[in-house]
Symmetry: C2
Amino acid sequence: MIFEVSILGSSSATPIYQRHPSAQVVNIHERFFLVDCGEGTLIQMNRYKIKFHRISHIFISHLHGDHYLGLLGLISTMHLQGRTASLNVYGPAKLKEIIDIQLDYSETELRYPLVFHPLDATTPACIYNEDNVEVHTIILNHRIPCTGFMFIESHKLRKLNKESVEEHGIPVEFFHELKNGKDFVRPDGTIIPNSQLTLPPPPDRRYAYCSDTIYDERLIGIVRGVDLLYHEATFMDDRVERARETYHSTARQAGIIARNAGVQRLIIGHFSARYKNLYPLLDEAKSEFNQVTLALEGDRFSI
Amino acid sequence: MIFEVSILGSSSATPIYQRHPSAQVVNIHERFFLVDCGEGTLIQMNRYKIKFHRISHIFISHLHGDHYLGLLGLISTMHLQGRTASLNVYGPAKLKEIIDIQLDYSETELRYPLVFHPLDATTPACIYNEDNVEVHTIILNHRIPCTGFMFIESHKLRKLNKESVEEHGIPVEFFHELKNGKDFVRPDGTIIPNSQLTLPPPPDRRYAYCSDTIYDERLIGIVRGVDLLYHEATFMDDRVERARETYHSTARQAGIIARNAGVQRLIIGHFSARYKNLYPLLDEAKSEFNQVTLALEGDRFSI
């Protein structure tokens, strides 16, 4: 089953060298989640053949413009293109005001329901949970309230051990309870333990999106062992002081978080405009953690 | 002296085929005026080598997103890049609220003065007048309050007729008064009429920007004889009814306005997403007025 992250933009606040600000699409089983929506996201979706009408959930990490200024254009275009399906937007409560004032002043009455879900940037929460897919907030430490997002494809059900089930002649109508972990009890009272009849569910697959954040070791426990970690790397380590002042991280710090959290793979982004060539940032992160890749526009990362 | 219009975007509300929404830069004598600022304007400026720090006046026609959603990104980037020079923004009064709420919620305190000039969309006015350059509003008839802009390079001063001035031995300190139209009076009371000493000023050069507007014949008198007219052409004439309903114009209607106003040259833009190939719109406008060009991204029109 598909679990894929498409990068639409990974530049920090100042777009330059034709790089675009933050936006990603997470595709889990053909459900499409947009994560941040910097200016130009719609154009980038067109460029990379992502059908914006399939997006039904948008997650905005915080209210710095490079993370949400493309949202109004997307909302308006969905309206103009005749969308009727509801759109769920998750973000800081004040984002709702920003959306409303602009729809109001352009005299736009949306043809579809826009369901706004205010996020609490102080306590982590599960904000989406449908059909084996969960999204949780990650509390980030930035200059203004900011949340990252953890996408989880979770398999709650155990898998039937077909051979063993057949051998014991378990009736089909009991399969669901087996998957839920119940033992089988024969009419004569004999118990066949669940562990003999099922296999553990496949491991969850997890993607953690962490942008923007100061270097914060508390993240290590939160993203421990994820399959893919996006961690911002606005600066290189010779500007570690500047990173601290602006509540950002360096490429080396992103590598340290990834290594200490034992993640499978790291992608770095949110690159400062001062870096035309991004490979030195990659090398720097790699000096701490080998499985690292630049999150470049148009790239897709499969989990 | 340079008087040039650079097109950064000429798509209507839905950006598609890598076309960008409305934005233009008018360069008059190396003073750079930004006219509308759709999403992606900053990226487009980078692409077409327009130095955004040289922009000091921005004119926003109305509050439909495709005409202003790039403004916050531009304002923020100017801030991040250390701008100190003041920035003048002209637009509907409500635009100020939209700017303020977003700066407020991102906790951005601009390092430069942003001077906001609210525009009245009911009465035309001269909103800028410095060193031979004037900008006037044009009242447009759109679904929400909307102004176009007339850029005028105006020569108020007459030119010295050097030969005649020498011949009559006019002292240098009187040249300025000559340019202002005064006659020269000798100590003995003899009068040399100004018309013998000067030539008329060169004709004004004028660029009229009209987007968005329903077909409105009142425009003819307003843009009469301009050197360059930008008129929106959202649709083709087979959708004239749709154009009327949405307060837009067709390519043919743009041609009619240009012909009846006797303009030197017409450029059309604000193309609907329904037209991938724009040349049929050009042909349609051309059937009414021959001197017409598509306003395509990256194109520059010299006056």
